[in-house]
């Protein structure tokens, strides 16, 4: 009888690893908290930098799933323990699962923009997050101000909840910069006469084609990039938002009114308390899970039979997550063979 692998989280990492593990001949069970598989991918409209529809990637992941894979949605792990060579897990539904190995692919949470009080999310009418914007694009709705008008000037605020000691996250979320550039272009494509400003601290265009996207935003769409972190936002009585930044490249403070503010929310770690308590896994100061070795065991935990894939060990792009999921599947296979 073939061995069993439990995957926690049916996002990009979980689905990709599941597909590979099934092909390698293992029985896979996926436990998913929400009512559907795909994780955050369900919320995105188009992916950077190629602008490929997110649904296309999700479809691909689903196609790779083995029909015999057991997917349990709407369920949470309440208890989990490593017993000699097996792993036992209980679900909140009362169900018990035995497995030979477990893959944690629980992903990340979006930063709660309300914590950045001075930006006025859910207080000011015309402040939304990058995730809200994705939703608007995904649903094909028109991008308007709270009064239903077409915005004439939009500001995209980088690093919301990232690189910010004041909200307890000092790390970089990696994907927001390019998301901001992508969304700026998307806004311009929807509303060509709208002025778009990206307020950034550093533009981290580290990956292939990211720089091209940035140049496209500037040269083709005339998106303006202002180096300076938003310090304060005020709502004017007409609902527009006045923002104050320092234009750090000019060394001058600046204020401007925006019809709409988009907060580029970063990635934060999910709730890892169960894994910490029952599997004695470690988290870093950034609250993400820590793999056994940053270079050579990046998909293994220090606990025997427990593996990682995706953003549970830190912010990652979808490409990197998929690569890591495949690596984790092979690592698991290697473990189960011995």
């Amino acid at each position: 009888m073939s061995k069993k692998v439990l995957i926690i989280g049916a996002g990009v990492a979980g689905l990709e690893a599941s597909g590979v593990l099934s092909k390698l001949g293992y029985n896979v069970t996926i436990v998913e908290e929400s009512d559907r598989i795909g994780g955050k991918l369900n919320r995105w409209s188009h992916l950077f930098p190629s602008r490929r529809p997110a649904s296309e990637v999700l479809e691909h992941l689903q196609l790779n799933l083995d029909p015999n894979t057991v997917i349990i949605t709407n369920s949470k792990i309440t208890d989990i323990a490593v017993k000699d060579t097996s792993i036992e897990a209980s679900l909140n539904t009362g169900k018990h699962i035995d497995a030979d190995a477990v893959l944690i692919s629980t992903g990340f949470e979006l930063f709660d923009a309300k914590k950045k009080e001075e930006y006025g999310y859910q207080i000011y009418e015309n402040v939304i997050t990058s995730a809200d914007l994705e939703k608007i694009f995904k649903e094909g709705k028109e991008l308007t101000t709270s009064k239903g008008k077409a915005p004439k000037r939009i500001g995209i605020i980088h690093c919301v909840g990232s690189r910010d000691e004041k909200v307890g996250n000092t790390y970089c979320s990696k994907v927001c910069c390019v998301t901001g550039v992508k969304q700026a272009i998307e806004i311009k494509e929807h509303l060509s006469s709208c002025e778009v400003f990206n307020f950034y601290m550093d533009l981290r265009m580290y990956d292939r084609h990211f720089e091209d996207l940035y140049q496209e935003a500037q040269v083709k769409h005339h998106v303006q990039f202002i180096r300076g972190r938003l310090s304060e936002a005020f709502e004017n009585p007409d609902g527009t938002v006045m923002v104050k930044v320092e234009d750090t490249l000019l060394g001058k403070p600046m204020k401007m009114n925006l019809d709409l503010v988009v907060l580029l929310v970063g990635m934060t770690a999910g709730n890892n308390s169960l894994f910490k308590k029952q599997l004695r896994l470690e988290t870093g100061t950034d609250k993400f899970l820590v793999p056994a070795d940053e270079h050579f065991k990046s998909v293994s935990s220090k606990q025997k039979g427990v593996f990682f894939a995706g953003a549970c060990t830190g912010p990652k792009t979808i490409e990197n997550t998929i690569t890591e999921a495949r690596a984790a599947a092979l690592e698991i296979a290697g473990y189960l063979k011995n």
Partner: protein, 112 residues
């Protein structure tokens, strides 16, 4: 007026909404490669004029984008047009024509 012994300090803040961006629009129309600038500062670092003055093409581009025209007008006339910046620019901004365009645009919008 009584002598207070001090004056109201001038506001350094850029008031983006009140600043006209016409000069930048005129310049960008004449030299669209201005949009390629990534504010790296290579131009100012190699600039001969910048050895002696606060002249900086990088800064001028930003000032134009923010509508802070006054500073541009006082500063653009320091350029010797030698073209070092053009050789140095990593983004292919046509810097010499950019500077001439600024001068021409200033003249056209009769800022002088």
């Amino acid at each position: 007026m009584p002598d207070f012994g001090y004056k109201i300090s001038k506001d350094r803040q850029i008031n983006f909404d009140e600043n006209s961006k016409n000069l930048f629009a005129e310049v960008a129309m004449r030299e669209p490669s201005v949009y390629r600038c990534i504010s790296c500062g290579t131009c100012a670092a190699t600039c001969s004029a910048a050895q002696f003055t606060s002249y900086s093409l990088r800064k001028m581009i930003l000032l134009l984008k923010r509508g802070e025209d006054k500073e541009v007008i006082t500063s653009v006339s320091r350029c010797m047009l030698c073209g070092k910046c053009q050789l140095a620019c990593p983004m292919g901004v046509n810097t010499r024509n950019l500077i001439l365009s600024i001068q021409n645009a200033i003249k056209k919008l009769s800022h002088v």
